[in-house]
Structures are given as C-alpha cells and as structure tokens.
Subunit: 537 residues, 2 copies
C-alpha cells in the first residue's frame, strides 16, 4: 500500500509535490523564454469541492462493503489515468466519467467476489494499478452497463516468495516500484525495472500493459522478466507454469502480457530479479549532426554491446532537459554489471560514436560500488540529472497543464530503414498540426530503447492551448501523430499501451482476423464482456 | 528447393548418407562395448517396394494437379516426422497413416487454392517443412475427414528481400537452413540459427514450432529473431506489422510462434540477420563433480556474459560424443561477436568455472577470422568435433533404429531450484523404466540452452528394444519421462514442440481456460477445423 502521503485526486503524484505558485511562475517564464510561448496565467489547482461528478448508478453490495466504497474522493481518484486529456479534465473539475464504486480487494477471494457480483449485476470491472495510464486504460464510461467498478489492486502489495538460487520472486499485482524495491532489498535483490511511472505504478499494471523499463537494450519490457502470471477471469482463475523458457505452443504468458484487463485481472506473477550491479560505466557523447548520432546509435546496438542506457536526445530534448543549449545532440551511454567491469564495453561504444563525429567533453565515468539504492544513483552527472528530470517530468506536466500548456508525449518503434522518413513526416505533420491548432508548437525526440533492427523514439510535444478548446486541439494533434505512425510502418505504441486512446489505430496496426481471434479469446474468458470494456478491443 | 540428392523416404536425411552395413556393424560393436547391450543384428534398410500403404481416399483435383500428387514415394516421404516411433514404423515398411495426397505449392495463391479445396472437401491439411518433427507434428490419421493433404512448403524457398541497414530479411517459409545461408551470403549476412535439423528444416517450420538454435543464451529460440509473420488461414491471410518491438496488446507474432499449423500455414516472415562473427573464443572446462559444473554454469549465465555456447555435458554425454572417457563432465564455452574481441568474456567465464573446480587442460582458443562459412567452423577442436557429432547424430539414430536399439531424446526447461530434484527423479524413473521394459538402459544429459533462472536439459536415451514390441516399450518409457517432467515443474518441451506426442502433457502444463481460449482462437481462424487436426489442440 502506498504510504500516508496523500496522492492527488486529479494530478500526477503526491499532493505535496505539486509545484507551488512560485514554481509555476518560474516554469511559465522558462517556457516562455525557451519556447517563445505567450505567458500563461497561474490558476489555482482544483480542490475536491470543485469536482463535478454524477451520483453512483449502483449501490455498494452489503457483503462487499468492507472493501468497496462509493465515496467521493476514491471515485475522483479512480476516474482517470494521467494523460494530458485526463489532467485537463481533472484540473477543470470534470469527473463525469467517475466509476460508481471503487473496490480495494485484500486477496484473491475478494477479487473473485467482485467479479462474481459484477457478472450478476452487469457491472463493468476496470482493473486499476497505479492509475498512471496515459491512454485511458482505466477510464470507462460504462455505457451499456449498470455501472462501473474500479478494481484497485494496491492492497495486494507483497513480495510473496523469493528464490535466490534462480533469482526470481513471486510478487502481488498491486505492489508499486518502491514497495518491490524495499521488500527485495532484504534479499539483496532488485527488479531493476524503472518505467517513468515507477514511483506509483504496479507490477500487475506493468504486466497488463507491457511496460518499458530503464534498460535500453535486451530487457526493454517487463515481458523480458516474467516467468509466470496468475490472473482471475470471469471464467475462473488461471496460472501459467513458472518456467525459465518453453517451446510448448504459443507462450501463455504472452496472452496476458498486454491484455490490459480485457481478459481478467492479474493478481500475481513470478519475475526474474537480480543483485544490484556494482559495476557501472557511463559517458555522454555530443554530436553536431543528428543523423551522425543516429548512425552511431545504430552501430552500437548492432555491435551487441547491450548498453543499459543508450538514450539519444536530439538538441530540443537536450535543451528541454537543460543538458545542452548549443544545439548539440546527446547520446547518453551507460553500462552496468553485477559481475564484471564494463569499461571496455563503454570504451568500444565511445569509439563507435567517435567514428561518427561524437565527442565526450566530460570524459567517461567508471564506478565500482557495492552499496546504495536507487536514490543514490541520482548523482550530479548529466546522466543523473537527466534521470532526475525523468522522474520529475510528470510533476512538471501537472503544472504546465494548469497553466494552459498543451503537453503530451507519444512513442513508437520502427525499423532503421524507415526511421528517417518517419521522423521527417512527424516533424512536418505534428509540428504543423500544433501550429495550425495552437499557433505554435515544440517537438523534441529521444530514443528510450534501441534494437538491432530499429529504435524506439519518444516524442514530447508542447504547445500553447486555448482554454476551453484544448481537448479538441489535442485530439487533432494526437490524431495526426497516430496517423503518421501508421502510414510509416511504425507501431502505435512501444510501451504506453493501447487503452482507449490508441484503440482505433491499434486495430489498424494488427491484422483484422487476429483481432477477431482475440475477441473470441475474450468471449471465452470473459463471456459477459464485463472486463475493462472498450480497452484494447 | 532441396538439391538433387535424394532424401530417404523413411529415415533422417539423404539416402546416400545412411550408414552402410560395415558402419552399422562398427556402431553395433561400439554400442556393445560402451553400453553393454547385446549385439544387434544388421537388417537391410527398407526399399519403397517394401512399403505398405492404403490407397488414397481422395483424388487429386484437376485444377490443382500441377502441384498436387498421389504418387507412392511422396506419400511415403510425407507420412512421418523423424522421431523414434517414426523411424521404427518406416523401417518396418508400415506407412498406414500416409497422407492421401501431397501438395507442393509454388506461391501463396497455390496455398490458398489448396485450403479452399480442402475446406470444400473436408480434407485435413498438414503443413510440412523439413518433415523433421520428433513429436508427430506432421502425422495425421485423418479420422473424421475425407482425407489428408500434406502441404509441403519447400518450393517456396526464397529470401525475398534484405534490409542491410536494419539487418533483417524477408524469407519464405519453405527455405531450409542451407538455402537461407546461401542466399544471405550474397549480402555477407547470416541468420545464425542452427537447430540440429538445420540441414533440412525450414524457416516456416522453425516459426511454427518455436525451434531452438545454436545460441545457448539470449537468442535461444527463433522467437528472438522474428519481426513479422505472414500466414494463410482458412479465414483468410494475415500479416503482422514488421517492427523491432511493440507494446501494443498481446504480441501477434507470439500467436503464430508455436501454433504448429493449427491456425493456418506460415508462408513467410521478416527475421533479424547478422554478419558472420569474426571474433570467437572458446574453451572446454572439465569437472570431476557434476553439481560443481551445474553451479558454475548457473553463475556464468547469471553473470550475464551471454555465451553463444554454454553446453554442459554430463560424463555419459561426454562419453557418447567421444569427448571424454574418464568420467569427467564437460562445459563447452564459446563466445562470438561481429564487433569486438570476446576473450575477456571467456576468461571471466573460465574463472567462474575454475572457482567451482573446473580445469581447462587444453587451454582456451581465441580466433579472429574474417572469412569462412559454416562448414569451416567444424574444426578439429572438441567443440568442433562435438558440433560434427551434433549434425551427424540423426544419421546414427537411423542406423541404431535399424539394429533394434531404442533411441530417443527429450528435453525440457526448469528453474534452478527444481533442477536437482527433477534430474534425480528422471534418473530414477526413466532409467528404471528402460530397465523394466528393455532389461537395460542408458541416459545422458546435456544443457542445450541456459537461462538466468534455469537450464534447458536435454536427455538422450538408449536401450535394447525387443523387435515387435519396441513401440509399446517406447510408449511406456516416454510416458514415464513426460509424467516426471510434469510432476517436477518442468515444461514438456523446450524446443521440440508439442505435436501429437506431447499433446496430453501440454494440456496438463497450461491452464485449462487458456486452452479453451486457444480453441476459440482456432475456431475463428479455422472454422472447419481442417488445419493440422490433432496437433497441439
């Protein structure tokens, strides 16, 4: 369970970490100076009293009342994820799609009881982990249902079992990143899966949405760690066999990885874990030319050096993160190992970068540490500073939204041969759409993950929104970005999931008869269609 | 298409490579000396005239007669895979489950025409690649169908497109290992996926069965190379988007990987390829104690050194492969890179092995070569000699079967914490079953692949069969092995697939409602159930 500090009911993170008015004014000035946007007003954050929300359509059943509530605050907190559209509506007090009730099961029996009740009453059940979805994965209008029950898994937050010999752990779905970190620390182990939502998002949410972690190569998604998954579906519970690997039929874990609550709710799973890596080496390479930097990145990943970090920040992204203001593009390289020094790997990667015109003004940094935790990793290097802004960015988003700035991110993956066309088309179409809709627009790009056959670029958008029209402006810009991805052979999402926002484009991305097959599967596991209706399918 | 040398209609490989009588006598003597079996008679190999086969139940349709035949030889060649049970029946001329017709489509239109015709006539369609299945994946009795059509994909054997920049290639399903090797060589690229069946098995077969290749870590299954798959199902064709990675819903490639022809037939796919690795380093470590060797192997893989080869041969396996006769256990370590020297990685792995009592009498071998092909890799080292016997082993199996030796292999994967119990139980149960059934029995073990959380052990069985009862003897021994795997948390197969032989145990391994979901999926893609009935589901 998350600690006693109160989470905001409308915005990212803890209430007491929301930027205050002074910080917001500074941010406004910085945005104005950096991006040339007109100064934005600093409007008060909403309070729970400002919230408009329909009365619950259903009553809390007596026999579930110990862990199901229809109270105002939990309903507000479970209405949205944390995408731009969510923050805008939350900021303006619009909670019209609030769930009618919120369940917080304490164990699998409670989960089964909720699903049984929901089946009988035609109530839609929406699994909820950290509520950090940016694709409306937890928002359900309940059309065609008697009501909506948000199923918050965060009471089920235990690491149940650790197998130190095989380096794996059995973890409940509702455990957040820090909760897992803390419990595994007793064994000297870590999961080392740090999505940007790490502080709040949960193991079950990561599995359901195929979350991306901090490794740039090799272990890019939670998929790469999962040994087995347990889930409760309306057709009964299911548990895959815990195995290091198998070749027996289509991989059953892969049916739950990415299922986004549409088949059932994930309750726990076995995952691979690892000791903290004492060996580290990192360097920041600067490039004058973006395409030289892209080529260097491609060669590094194709050399199979397996960097843990291989983030290419274009000059706009470098500026946004206050790492460089001279127009250079930065390639942040990091290697880590639990077993052996990694400076040779870094050196080889730096050589490849240098062959493409990269320089390393600050030189590499090599470490061998045997103690510490994730907080200590945020040192005062560019890499560390970038990591800080990585975890702080969502708080800034809150503030920006409150000042009427349209701020969004989207990400994808595409083969190397198609990347330059895609990138150019996005620059033209998406920046064009921002200018048309908002009069101005800023787009930066970083690679979050890289593969031998292509990068996973991540784009950040900033534009001055018009209060009152911002959701429509956003919709047109987002549509332009998604259409461009589809036209250029890219995926609609590398690690943000499908939810409801990406659903139509997802249906364009995958073959129609595969979708039909997934629907058949859903009808078998969820015959009444109560599980997260509208997400994915 | 395979070359003009003729493939045996009943046994593994080329007719002219079947061991002759002299070689068989030598083999018999060696088996007798090594394993203590009674001398076995050398009986003539069967000829096509010896074959007993029912008349075809269906006629070749006129409009498909250009590529569909009911001739005796192709029917015999497409009756079985290459498992023990197949070789026994083939050797004895029993071809009672021969397909009625054999289709050899030249393109996707031909494939669609066959499926359309088969749907109309209620004919079962059995996709056929190299015919190297050891789990009856290509054998269908056709009960409940008007007849059976074997769909041999080997005319579709082209590398259609190569993207050198992204290091990927589009390959037709029927291309065999050597055909892919030859076509990619024009670009200086390789797939570097070498299952034991490499010479004959096909790209489509690898995808359909999740074949295991030569990499011991990291790229263990063909799954790790596939970017996209194209397939023809009775509900229409489908093609997944070619992507380096995606997080959009359950991975559509993973539904076809391991589908074993039950949903449709794979016609082509994009896969990652790579240049030939000029940097190699290898060493053979000897251990007196097996469990020390196991611990060393575990530590090496958990150190994330990513050896390309990490094969632990127990002393019986070392003897069988004529690599050691003094009771030592061998760990064959090999590293390779297209980009950088790998001797440091080897050295670190050797140090770990030495910490567990391993020695390296012959010292490591380090190479940096810039030319050569797979043939040249078979050098006169232990590693090379082992590789030779790896590719030659199936020919020896032919000969052993012809002399009444029961010879079989099975393989699995299990987490490290459960391996010692599993291994002990297999020793007791399976060797016990061989003794009970055959009066004697030999079982050796090697690790073919290793994971951070567990090994993939591969067992070879040899026992003196009683001619006439050997299939029943085999059935009991196989059942014992499979039951033991299920009881000890292992998988029924790491890379031999499910087919019909493993089907019941596969259904025990995966959750019942997952199986129901797979069946729903099949009903959607194959509504009349004509695709490889009885395999997998």
């Amino acid at each position: 369970m998350t600690d006693d500090r109160r989470l905001s009911f409308w915005a990212w993170g803890y209430e007491d970490r929301l930027p205050d008015d002074e910080e917001r004014r500074e941010l406004a000035a910085r945005i104005e100076g950096m991006l040339g946007f007109p100064e934005r007003p600093v409007v008060d954050y909403p309070t729970l009293d400002d919230v408009e929300m329909p009365a619950p359509r259903i009553e809390v059943p007596d026999d579930l009342s110990e862990f199901v509530t229809a109270d105002r605050r939990p309903r507000a907190s479970h209405t949205y994820g944390k995408g731009y559209r969510d923050l805008v509506r939350g900021f303006h007090g619009d909670f019209s799609s609030a769930p009618d009730v919120v369940a917080t099961p304490r164990d699998e029996d409670d989960v089964e009881a909720v699903i049984e009740w929901a089946t009988g009453e035609n109530v839609a059940v929406v699994p909820f982990g950290g509520g950090t979805s940016v694709v409306a994965g937890v928002e359900c209008d309940g059309d065609g249902y008697a009501g909506v029950c948000s199923l918050d898994m965060r009471e089920m937050d235990r690491v149940l079992e650790v197998d130190e010999h095989s380096r794996s752990a059995r973890i409940q779905a509702g455990a957040t990143g820090p909760e897992i970190q803390e419990q595994l620390a007793e064994y000297g182990l870590q999961l080392r899966h740090y999505p940007q939502s790490y502080e709040f998002s949960t193991f079950g949410g990561w599995v359901a949405t195929r979350a991306g972690g901090h490794f740039a190569t090799r272990y890019t998604h939670i998929d790469d760690f999962v040994e087995s998954v347990r889930a409760v579906t309306p057709a009964g519970s299911l548990e895959t066999r815990r195995l290091p690997a198998s070749g027996a039929g289509p991989d059953p874990n892969r049916f739950l990885l990415g299922s986004e609550g549409a088949f059932g709710v994930i309750t726990e799973g076995w995952t691979r874990v690892q000791p903290r890596p004492p060996h580290r080496a990192r360097a920041t390479m600067r490039f004058d030319d973006y395409w030289d930097a892209v080529e260097a990145t491609r060669e590094i990943v194709q050399a199979r050096l397996y960097p843990a970090n291989c983030r290419l920040l274009d000059s706009d992204e470098a500026m946004l993160n206050e790492l460089a203001f001279d127009g250079s593009h930065l390639l942040l390289l990091g290697f880590e190992s639990t077993d052996h020094p990694v400076e040779d790997d870094l050196e080889r990667a730096m050589t490849i970068a240098e062959d493409h015109g990269g320089t390393c003004p600050d030189g590499p940094s090599v470490e061998d540490r045997s103690t510490g935790d994730v907080e200590e990793e945020r040192e005062d290097s560019e890499e560390g500073s970038w990591r800080d802004s990585f975890f702080e960015a969502p708080y800034m988003f809150n503030a920006l939204v409150s000042m009427g700035v349209l701020v969004d991110t989207f990400e994808t993956a595409v083969t190397w041969d198609q990347f330059s066309d895609l990138h150019a088309a996005l620059q033209e179409n998406v920046v064009g759409a921002m200018r048309e809709e908002c009069g101005a627009g800023f787009m930066s790009c970083r690679f979050t993950h890289v593969y031998e056959d292509g990068p996973a670029p991540y784009y950040t958008l900033l534009a001055p929104a018009e209060v009152g029209s911002e959701l429509e402006q956003w919709r047109r810009i987002k549509e332009t970005a998604s259409d461009t991805l589809m036209e250029h052979g890219a995926t609609i999402t590398h690690h943000h999931a499908v939810g409801r926002v990406h659903r139509d484009h997802y249906h364009e991305e995958v073959p129609e008869n595969y979708l039909q097959a997934l629907r058949s599967m859903k009808r078998t596991l969820d015959p009444d269609g109560i599980m997260n209706p509208g997400a994915l399918l």
